[in-house]
């Protein structure tokens, strides 16, 4: 029985990891901060997947991101997806050689479908995560947006999702712009935009503040994985407790025995 997943998303911008609120970024700390104050190596044992996105506005230093990715992923033994401004096969390849297992793409979904095919052809479709940022208009209609939420398409989100689900992608990452960073919980109505018999796994994102929100997402049959990018709310033992709480509530997440790490490997190996 396939387990559901708890995913942590790290948002990177110009050397800093950030918190996003409705796509406005707040710098929190750099890689060193993440490792020392945040205890990321410890926290990473309580997640099932890591997504790292370069959300830099303006020009990106791709090499710096790759170096950071490489450092970050050392000691992180879960699937890792990376993205942000990926438009060429070479860029994707560079990310895959820096520790990523999958590449996240967003804007090309709307303006360069050929690229999606090229990625799938080169690396396999399971390597491709389609990320969609969805905006909710005042009248309740949903629109997909690209370019870090700056450009919203006039077409309906539901139609785009159906089309993109038919592309050679591995999974769909569905993010709410309204809920992003608010701690108000997921916009569960996003799931109504999915076509019946959605052929690809769905990762729900945008709005998590605490473990109740995570549990709510995971309890829905249409959701295969939940993601949070809330850098503040899960520091210390926050993520560990959230995972325990979600599992205690009956959700089937993978079972990890973190004690084994401390005992068998840190003590000099045997």
């Amino acid at each position: 029985m396939l387990k559901k997943r708890l995913i942590f998303t790290l948002l990177y911008s110009q050397g800093q990891f950030t918190l996003s609120r409705n796509f406005r970024l707040q710098k929190v700390g750099n890689l060193k901060w993440l490792q020392t104050n945040y205890g990321f190596s410890y926290i990473s044992f309580f997640i099932d997947e890591l997504i790292v996105l370069d959300v830099t506005r303006g020009e990106r230093d791709v090499q710096a991101f790759q170096d950071t990715l490489k450092s970050l992923t050392e000691g992180c033994f879960v699937p890792i997806a990376a993205g942000g401004g990926v438009r060429t096969v070479e860029h994707a390849r560079a990310l895959l050689r820096s520790g990523a297992d999958k590449v996240v793409i967003n804007t090309p979904l709307y303006d360069d479908a050929n690229f999606v095919h090229a990625l799938a052809s080169e690396f396999g479709q399971q390597c491709v995560v389609a990320s969609m940022d969805i905006k909710r208009l005042p009248d309740g209609a949903y629109r997909p947006c690209s370019d870090r939420g700056a450009i919203c398409d006039a077409g309906s989100a539901a139609q785009w999702i159906e089309r993109i689900a038919g592309y050679p992608i591995g999974e769909l990452y569905l993010n709410s712009i309204e809920r992003d960073g608010t701690g108000q919980g997921y916009d569960m109505k996003l799931l109504d935009l999915l076509p019946a018999g959605m052929p690809k796994p769905v990762i729900l994102a945008g709005g998590v503040g605490n473990s109740t929100h995570l549990a709510e997402g995971l309890a829905d049959a249409r959701v295969d994985a939940v993601a949070t990018a809330h850098l503040f709310n899960f520091i210390g033992d926050g993520l560990k407790k959230a995972r325990q709480s979600v599992t205690a509530g009956g959700i089937d997440l993978p079972v990890w025995n973190v004690q084994q790490i401390a005992q068998r490997f840190q003590a000099g190996g045997a």
Binding site: R21, Q26, V28, N37, T182, G209, N233, G236, D237
Partner: protein
Amino acid sequence: MKGNTKDLHWCTSCLTMSTRPRITFDEGGRCNACVWAEKKKTLDWGARQKELERLLDKHRLEDGRVDCLVPVSGGKDGSYVAYNLKHKYGMNPLAVTVTPALSLELGDRNLRAFVESGYNHISINPAHKAMQALNKVGFIEMGFPYYGWLIAIHTAVARAAVGFGIGLVFYGEDGEVEYGGSTETSKNPIYDVAYQKKVYLEGGHEKVLAASGLSEADLYFFRFPGEDELHGRRIELTHWSYFENWDPYRNYLVAKEHCGMMEAEDSNAGTFTNFSQNDQALYALHTYLMYLKFGFGRANQDACIEVRRGAMDRAQAVNLVRLYDGHYPEEFIELYLEYYQMTRAEFDAVLDRYVDRDLFEKVDGRWTPKFIVT
């Protein structure tokens, strides 16, 4: 592992500390702010809304004259109130800013954006020398680094109300009610100058003015208008938070959307948020002193707000507060010393006066907590 001293405890629901002045706890250990937050969920806000409408109907002028006054800084709370008064209730608010000392660039930009989003607005700049002197006296004698400004946001606002013939002033939130303290105004929405003096200026402001040696001319904006100036008119002072469920995060979303408010790029000093209190550098010192006096600072306050609005649970808040609270405002020190005309040693000596030594001990020159937030 440090033990906690002095019968120290935290609200069982948020992280408000037992050291907070005028705080009370119920049998379950919950502070009055949390009890109030719970009550607010089932309060008859419809009735309060009607009270608001009646109050506004009494003051509304539809002839283009300003009919109510909103103190604003360009930040989320004042902007939210002004926005509602104008767009939801058809009032013609006069937005009033009392310029703080050491204003921050982001604050200035936010104020400009607010004004340009469409409001009648004035800035009052009380006599600079007096503001500086009163801030300094407040810092040294009371541990209130912007005491002059705290006075002026009441007195100068009242003067503005008189000057423009406005009888209704809306402050945003009643800090005592929302964050724990005196609950007198939770039932009586409209108060007067006497209450302001007692609670918001912690008594004693007239003594400070008298002892300042400043001329009456310089102190003009630091004095409430007298009876002879009021000419029998009454100024009704109230808090928006009485009439509508106060939600700082909601205010932020509205201010962002409609009044051009921007956040800081980094977390603000001593906390994990970036969207509040961006207008003046002395706020960081104010919250640091609060931390030294009572053991809780800006991160603690922000965390309590997050917990009460359901965005995080108490355990998550504990982690954040342990990491961020109690930040010595290193980045503003030069600015403070120049403003107060003090040396670093004199400055630190003032801080030392206000530290609760049951809560803190000096380690490597920095006051370090003896307690652990639990």
